[in-house]
C-alpha cells in the first residue's frame, strides 16, 4: 500500500494550524473541483484533497495520523503499525459538511490507505435513510457524436459505476449500455432510462438512469441548443458577385444562394436545417473567403490585372 502524505497533498507544513489547513483546503477544492476545473486529473486530485482534509481537520484523526511520521522511506510499501489505532477513540462518521468528497456523484470512494487507517466509517458517511421503496436514480454524463442526434440510432456507451462489495469497499465497475439516442436531442438534455438505476437487493422497484448528453467535437458542425453552425469557404468572386451552390445539410442537400457583396464572416441562416428537435433548429453558415494561390503565371497575371483595375486598400479605415 502506498503511504499518502496528507500534509504534502494539502501543501501545508506539519505544524499547520487548523485555520491554515482550512484555507488550504478551500483553495485546492476550488482549484480542483470537477465542476470548475479544467485540469485533466481534477477529479482524482479533488478526492485526494478531500481525503487529506477529512483527516487533518479532525483533531483525533490528525493526531493518530501524525503518529505515523512521514511514512516509510521512498519506494517502500506502507504497513500500518501493529498497535495502530490503540489509544485513540474515533468518533466516526456523522458529521455533515464538505467531507463527503468521494465519488463525485454518489458513493464515496476513499483510498485504500484511508480505509485501512480509518475504516469505512469515516469514509462512506453511511447513508442513514429510511427504508426505501425504490432504488436510487443514477446520473451519468455521456459523450456522444453529433451524428447520433442528427440521425438517431443506437450507441454503445460505457459507464463507470461505483459499487460497494460485501466488505464495504468501493469498486468501479464498467457497465456497457446500448442506448437509442433520440433524434434531435441537444447537449445538456437528459435521456431517462426507466429502471436502469440502482437495484435494491430485495428486488423492489429499481431507480432510473439519467444520461446527460455532451457532444463530441464534430468535423463540420458545432451545436448550440438546437441550432447548428458551420463554416463554408467560398472564392472571392463567389462572394463578390454572388453565386448559387449545393450545400449538403443534415436534412439533405439544399441550394444555397450566396448574395453578391458577401464578406468573410457573413452569416447565412437556413431555417429548420439544424438539429431535428421539436421544433427543429436552424443551420447557420459562416462564409470564409479562400484566396486562390498565385502559383502560376496566369494566376499572377490575373492578380496583377485585378490590382491595376481596383483601387482598394483594406487598411484605410485603420489608418495604415
Amino acid at each position: 500500500m502506498k503511504f499518502k502524505d496528507y500534509y504534502d497533498i494539502m501543501g501545508v507544513p506539519r505544524d499547520a494550524t487548523a485555520d491554515q489547513i482550512k484555507q488550504a483546503y478551500r483553495k485546492l477544492a476550488r482549484k480542483y473541483h470537477p465542476d470548475v476545473s479544467k485540469e485533466a486529473d481534477a477529479e482524482a486530485r479533488f478526492k485526494d484533497v478531500g481525503e487529506a482534509y477529512e483527516v487533518l481537520r479532525d483533531p483525533e484523526k490528525r493526531a493518530a495520523y501524525d503518529q505515523l511520521g512521514s511514512g516509510p522511506p521512498p519506494g517502500q510499501e506502507f504497513r500500518p503499525p501493529p498497535d495502530w489505532g490503540s489509544g485513540f477513540e474515533f468518533s466516526g462518521a456523522g458529521r455533515p459538511g464538505p467531507a463527503e468528497h468521494g465519488g463525485f456523484d454518489g458513493t464515496g470512494d476513499s483510498s485504500e490507505f484511508f480505509e485501512t487507517l480509518f475504516g469505512r466509517a469515516g469514509a462512506a458517511r453511511a447513508r442513514q435513510r429510511r427504508p426505501r421503496e425504490r432504488g436510487e436514480d443514477h446520473h451519468a454524463r455521456v459523450i456522444i457524436d453529433l451524428d447520433a442526434a442528427l440521425e438517431g440510432g443506437a450507441r454503445a456507451l460505457t459507464l463507470r459505476v461505483p459499487e460497494v462489495d460485501a466488505e464495504g469497499r468501493v469498486h468501479l465497475r464498467e457497465r456497457a449500455l446500448n442506448v437509442k439516442i433520440p433524434r434531435g436531442i441537444q447537449a445538456g438534455q437528459h435521456i431517462r432510462l426507466a429502471g436502469q438505476g440502482e437495484t435494491l437487493p430485495d428486488g423492489s422497484k429499481p431507480g432510473d438512469l439519467f444520461l446527460e448528453v455532451v457532444f463530441a467535437p464534430h468535423a463540420l458542425y458545432r451545436a448550440e441548443g438546437s441550432d447548428l453552425y458551420r463554416e463554408l469557404p467560398v472564392t472571392p468572386w463567389e462572394a463578390a458577385l454572388g453565386s448559387q451552390l449545393q450545400l449538403p445539410t443534415p436534412g439533405g442537400a439544399v441550394d444555397l444562394r450566396i448574395p453578391a457583396g458577401s464578406k468573410a464572416g457573413t452569416r447565412l441562416r437556413l431555417r429548420g436545417r439544424g438539429l431535428p428537435s421539436r421544433p427543429p433548429g436552424d443551420l447557420y453558415v459562416t462564409l470564409q473567403i479562400a484566396l486562390p494561390p498565385a502559383d502560376s503565371a496566369a494566376a499572377r497575371a490575373a492578380y496583377e490585372a485585378f490590382a491595376a483595375a481596383t483601387p482598394f486598400n483594406p487598411r484605410l479605415p485603420n489608418g495604415a
Binding site: 456497457a176 438534455q189 437528459h190 432510462l193 448550440e224 421539436r278
Partner: protein, 99 residues
C-alpha cells in the same frame, strides 16, 4: 466484461417529454425543498411556466452543480448563482472558439 450487448435501451428526452415537479427534482438531487426554493428565488432555477414549480432539464443540471458546489466548497446561494452564470458563460465562449 465486454459481453456483447444485444438489448437496446430506449429512453426519452427529459426536457421535451416531461417537466419535473419540485418533489421529483428534490428526490433526483437528494436535496431539501428549501434549497430548491432558494435557488428559484436567486434565479438559478427557472420554473416554467413561472409560479408553477415545474422544471426542465436545465434546472436539473444546475441544481446538481449547485448542490455539489455548496457541499464541497461551502459556497452560499449567491455564490452558487454567480459561479453557475460564469461557468455557463465559459462554456458558451469555448463553444465559439475556432477549433
Amino acid at each position: 466484461m465486454a459481453a456483447s450487448i444485444t438489448t437496446v435501451l430506449v429512453g426519452h428526452i427529459v426536457e421535451e417529454d416531461e417537466q419535473l415537479g419540485i418533489d421529483q427534482l428534490c428526490e433526483l438531487c437528494a436535496v431539501e425543498r428549501q434549497q430548491v426554493l432558494e435557488l428559484v428565488e436567486e434565479g438559478v432555477l427557472e420554473a416554467a411556466p413561472p409560479g408553477q414549480l415545474r422544471f426542465g432539464g436545465v434546472s436539473l443540471r444546475r441544481l446538481r452543480i449547485a448542490t455539489r458546489l455548496r457541499r464541497d466548497l461551502g459556497v452560499n446561494v449567491a455564490g452558487v448563482a454567480l459561479a453557475i452564470q460564469l461557468l455557463e458563460r465559459i462554456e458558451a465562449l469555448e463553444r465559439d472558439l475556432p477549433r
